[in-house]
Symmetry: C3
Subunit: 350 residues, 3 copies
């Protein structure tokens, strides 16, 4: 149960560098590649000749060549050529709208006519030289909503990430949650606490003392279909916290694009964007490795939770105040899913 | 199809040393841990908050802490505390009666009200300084009754364990099988034979000549739900066999606690208790390694048999005289299963 | 959907050298072994006593002994002996006609009364000192007909085997396909081309220049149930091509015995028979390694194709002119399957 008429992150440019990539997005088995003039494309991963996987093929002159019998597929899903064959009668395969933007390849697994690139989530920090970004990709066997719950309730940091970003003060600061249209914002502000190891390192990376009391903030923003962007940071205490001037703070944006693969698995694109020391590639790499390690700690927890829920389908789970961010996000998803279903039925009925 | 109202071995103390253990027993997914004052406990492995696996959590002050959001679970299945939350409204999860006795943790996967620790199988050799015990655990993908069949018909030793405890004389000595209440006893006595390698080593370990004719015995006892304890041994021939004085014999008890995991898989706790040289830890280790190697030879046989039976559900298997021990054991299990079903229906009807 | 009343290659002699072999052929789980006087036999892999896998047993005096309780099984499927037991009442298990011929063990998974060894495909090159043979076995998760399609349309060589036997001239030479009774022949002749790497090596192995223009041929022959034998070769151009005298040519027969394991998996026996330098064992080994590497390139393609077809059961695949060999082969299979079904129904009705 996920929105199909939405833009999802499908892959990063390095994954389609010089070769096609097979990936399932929202139960749609796709081949992603860079075609004519470098434009990205997504097609069904199914050769119209005999059903071979196009993702096992190769690229030639901006077209995708099937690795079995050499059909040449254009970015529009039409067969352009085949050795010693006329191709007029070969049916086109489905193409999915695909756009490269902000350092990601985005696809629209639903109805092509509705795909408006203007609806791609705007990332103000991308393509901005004052910011740096590093990230990675995990495959996790869980419903995408379990990951949204996870990210919209950061009290889990104290337990899952005890040695890096967790600290008891997180759970002592009750979150404030609000809904703004289709966006859910849940935030926490902690005053006058010592920075945990990850943030101590970030302060040092930013040229700031790491052994003084700080204010810390976590402001999670859910937007459909399944994006969670989190403003996080610390500032030396007494300078305004979240609003402190740049010389007292180290902040960044945790980026989480959660792309459903199937009903119970996801492609999880995680990363961090920061607006300090953006030219420092070593720092980017250090943060990336640290974040990758921290975020990998969620995998076992989420996969075991998913197995438990599948084994106990009729069992209810609780929603406490800390869960408000996930609860509100799910409500928005439910409403949009209903709208998508209703729109489809209208089309069918008309 | 296994008895639920029965005590099964769930694990050994080393498996819950300082951390919880997740294990499925009779299709019940449990978390086992040592709680208040060192008492063992078994709960559903399902956090009442969001369904996380409690077995991925940790222990703190004799309580189990969920590794996701920090719920503190008592040994009674009730949530005792949660960071910054009231816990009165959090429903309890199921607890399973659990008892530590004789060097094992026993659980009762059925109706709690019926769980009487006095019904735990008495092990006369446990907690007795004149005896020593060593054992191990195997996971096997087979119905628990196939393992009972295996242990209640030791003619398989000649084939499966040809190089250690098997010898042709086993199959030449017909077994005598009798039923005593809920217990099945099937025994074999072989006269004036040469000891096979395992028993030659045991004679040496006991300070006895290993190259003389011996009498050998195997007396298998099945008791519900699925325990098989086997008196085995050899004595120098001419001294009374099973009744020979201690200075002519080397004997021991093969211990087999077969705990169903699912309908077609088991946790197999195997071991050997002996009343000679009980202080000799090196001998315990040597026997344990030898037995572990021998018992591992059954795994492939049983798992292939299980696959064959699953693939041929309507095919009948034969019961010959050598199978009497298993046949009688299955009859007792069937009767007790019927009693368990009838009792449940009475409760439901009343 | 495969023919059951047919001879299939089940294994090679080295696979049953001194021990039984368990293998599923056409959904029949068999144990293959060499019994009395070296004759090959195939039985159900199911001990009539308790369902143990006979393939885990061993051979003694030309009989198969069950590794669990020692039942001695004859090549006729009857229990010949069992330790300390009468065996008259033990039911026989199914036997499958089995014949050793041409260096292969052939089995007939269907109705025993119809199994006529004279119907085994004749291999004129086997048991002939002027020929040498080398081959191997792959397990592939695909319907056997996908492999027939593959072999009856060698245009795929240009893509799948680009670095060894593929060359663009293959797809430029349209194939000619004809049906002769139950046989389909599809052939290609290429004139005045440079030999690709594999054939250059074969020319050298045959003592011929490898850097001169050649004529090349590929003549694929399908015969039921699923055999494809392919005459392949090159000759120095201008000497008659396929009909060139031996001193100008290097030719061989590609051997493909495709044995269904299940509906979507096969045992693929591949090899090459050649009538040049037949005594040169090193050459045999070199060719075998080269062919093994080339043929392994088909595995990923076929398995991905199979997954795609299973995921899209209602989707039609195309049949172009290059597919004529496979299409005609499938038509013959369909007709014979219908005949087999009709014959079974007649027997049932009578």
């Amino acid at each position: 149960m996920f929105l199909k008429n939405a833009w999802y992150v499908a892959c990063t440019p390095d994954e389609i560098d010089g070769k096609p990539l097979g990936r399932t997005i929202c139960n749609e088995k796709m081949v992603l590649f860079r075609g004519d003039e470098g434009k990205v494309a997504a097609l069904e991963d199914f050769c119209p000749h005999r059903g071979a996987a196009l993702s096992l093929g190769f690229l030639r002159d901006g077209q995708l060549v099937c690795g079995y019998h050499g059909l040449v597929m254009g970015t529009d899903g039409k067969c352009k050529a085949m050795p010693a064959q006329r191709v007029g009668g070969i049916p086109a395969i489905r193409r999915y709208p695909a756009v490269e933007r902000y350092g990601f390849i985005w696809v629209w697994p639903g109805e092509e006519a509705l795909a408006d690139p203007a609806k791609i989530h705007h990332l103000e920090w991308a393509d901005n030289p004052e910011w740096a970004y590093g990230g990675g990709l995990y495959h996790i066997n869980c419903d995408y909503r379990l990951m949204i719950d996870n990210l919209m309730d950061l009290t889990h940091e104290t337990y899952v990430h005890a040695s890096s970003i967790g600290q008891p003060e997180i759970e002592e600061a009750p979150p404030a949650t609000r809904v703004e249209g289709d966006t859910v914002v849940t935030g926490r502000h902690m005053q006058n606490i010592m920075p945990p190891p990850f943030w101590a390192a970030a302060l040092r990376g930013n040229g700031l003392a790491d052994n003084v009391p700080c204010d810390r903030w976590q402001i999670c923003r859910f937007t459909p279909p399944s994006h969670v962007l989190i403003e996080v940071g610390v500032a030396h205490a007494g300078h305004g916290g979240y609003d402190a001037p740049a010389e007292y703070r180290a902040g960044s944006i945790v980026v989480d694009f959660i792309t459903p693969e199937t009903d119970t698995s996801i492609w999880y694109f995680w990363g961090m964007a920061r607006n300090f020391a953006p030219q420092d590639a070593t720092l980017t790499q250090t943060i990336r490795e640290g974040q990758g390690k921290i975020f990998s700690e969620d995998l076992a927890v989420l996969e075991a939770q998913q197995r438990n829920l599948l084994a106990n389908p009729h069992r209810k789970i609780l929603s406490l105040n800390i869960d408000a961010g996930g609860v509100q996000s799910r409500k928005i998803i439910e409403r949009l899913l209903k709208e998508e279903r209703d729109a489809t039925q209208e089309v069918s009925a008309s």
